[in-house]
Point group: C2
Chain length 326, copies 2
DNA sequence: AAGGTTCCCGTGAACGTTATCGTTAGCTGG
DNA sequence: CCAGCTAACGATAACGTTCACGGGAACCTT
């Protein structure tokens, strides 16, 4: 009921106690110049003694920047994202930044709403997994706040990016399947926009017309349905490459239900290496992307941007993890 | 580079454009009284027209409360929490609130640091999954900011709580196992503090001395190790109840590796019903807790608290989901 | 008709910080 | 010895909002 009843220790209290002006206190804690080493230490000591904490509001009011950054993701429930978020949390905490998460369900309207909130809240910077193919929105947000986009490139040179190299990841998976002797390959593509690399690399490697690619919702249920469709089109299919692990797991389930042995009769390889992948039976062969590292790198790149460096563009290398489905 | 170069539309601009004072504008947007319906509509219209957004900083400066709430969890990577977070995100978004997430790894020092940040950032309220058994810290935080704790009760009457009824959940699971004819039961308890209900209910139902309970880290690896220990102590064990699904999945793996059929020779039931539970082979029988609903309820309770209502204490009922391991 | 409400609305002040500019003392160089 | 510089610090003014007042008009009440 009486929240906030205790009086706040302000910068003036510190100034008074240290026998200096509040401006000097400000200089001491913000590592600005124009202050002698002696007084700075004294000020810092009294700050410690009084347990003074600067008001984030008052500070943000002047600087228009908060000590927090925004993370826009489609769905924290999608097993790909918790690890990404964790990497981002840890790296942000190390920098003394908080992270406010926005779920969008890959809905453009929700993405716009999140962007709106972000500029309103005056966060220090933003990290975004955007679905919206229209670059206008991205550029608009990038103009208002330092921005790093994941798995996507922005035409705006001030928007940094970190992406996983899907093309070579896909090629590695297909090469692996060919090494195992498979010739009739099929693909389960995820029904998501803006991520054509996997499908493109697949078609490129096969010189195919696309009839061997079926698109389905990127879920387990989508995987079982998609696999049936694929088998209906090409009964001789002997190996399946999936857009992500959820689809792959669904495919394996459908295969087992149909009485086909995995990997004896049909091999399956997924993408992402979510935690579940190692625990299903048989454990899933998949292209591993380091999600924690992705999250970490995203805030690292954002941090460098906040420190005044130019926008970087980094690429993370995936690697194949061979388990029991191939 | 030139972030924030565009000039801000302030409340004074709106006031000028609408031909009223800024106080009237404030009244219009905050649904305060003392304003006629006519002028309020006019003000709202000009707000819309000028695309005015109140400064969160300036507002927070006066009210000491931001439009954001904090969510303290041990680990977003633990499959239990993404769904909780999602429920919290959705409910918060519906209320126009942002959510800043703090990962603690159940480390008291990290929990203290998160609490520190929370009061510093002046969030509107906080939701916490605390590990710290010492109630002093919880009460201290609760005194500074409206607080709702999950799966735990606070002695402080101003701290609200939402908990899953672990005791009856556990009893239901054990009754199910007994119905199946099992008599030699064992339990895999998680090595976490502050959650004795499951173990207690288990021991209570058995009238046992605790020798049939082995404690292990609440992970898959902990489950396999714990099960071996359990079998070493009581080779005749025919049914295992686990603290959570991770432990249960680990147990099933160990069982299969040891050549024991599940559920033919040994039955296993987990707790939580994480997404993985339905996908392992055989699919896991488990006590389902509605994690999304938990997250949703947590912010609902917090919201009512913010609206001035007294602290509530709610309990969510779990239910048994029988699948393939029992 | 005088006093009392109620309904609207505006004026000043305050929240706690940082930016800008000014001031002082001490030092340098010619 | 004085102009000019620099280092260290302080005073004032913002940043944009809400709170505590106060006051005028209209509408009752007796």
């Amino acid at each position: 009921m009486d929240h906030g009843s205790s009086v706040r220790v302000t910068i003036d209290d510190v100034a008074r106690a240290a026998g200096v002006s509040r401006q000097t206190v400000s200089r001491a804690m913000n590592d600005k110049g124009d202050i002698s080493e002696a007084t700075r230490r004294k000020v810092l000591a009294t700050i410690e003694e009084l347990d003074y904490r600067p008001s984030a509001f008052a500070r943000g009011m002047r600087t228009q920047k908060a000590g927090t950054l925004a993370l826009i993701i489609p769905d924290i429930t999608n097993p790909f994202f918790p690890a990404v978020a964790r990497g981002a949390f840890d790296a942000a905490a190390a920098r003394g930044l908080g992270v406010v998460v926005h779920n969008t369900d890959a809905d453009p309207a929700a993405e716009a709403e999140a962007s709106r909130r972000i500029v309103d809240d005056g966060v220090a910077g933003a990290i975004a997994f955007f679905e919206e193919v229209d670059d206008g929105a991205v550029t608009a947000l990038g103009r208002r706040v330092p921005l790093v986009v994941a798995d996507r490139h922005s035409p705006d040179p001030t928007v940094a990016s970190v992406r996983s190299d899907f093309a070579t990841g896909t090629r590695t998976a297909i090469a692996h399947l060919r090494d195992r002797g498979h010739v009739e390959l099929g693909m389960l593509d995820g029904a998501v926009h803006g991520k054509p690399e996997r499908r493109r690399a697949f078609l490129e490697a096969l010189g195919d017309d696309g009839d061997r690619v079926v698109t389905a919702p990127a879920t387990v249920a989508g995987g079982t349905a998609g696999l049936r469709e694929l088998l209906a089109r090409h009964p001789g299919t002997t190996a399946v490459f999936a857009f992500n692990d959820l689809l792959a797991i669904g495919a394996v389930r459908a295969l087992k239900a149909a009485g086909r042995r995995v990997p004896g009769e049909v091999a399956v390889v997924g993408y992402d290496d979510i935690p579940m992948a190692a625990l299903v039976d048989p454990p899933l062969t998949t292209v591993h992307t380091d999600k924690y590292e992705l999250g970490r790198t995203l805030v690292e790149v954002l941090g460098r941007r906040l420190d005044g460096h130019p926008a970087e563009h980094r690429t993370l290398a995936p690697r194949l993890v061979v388990r029991g489905t191939s």
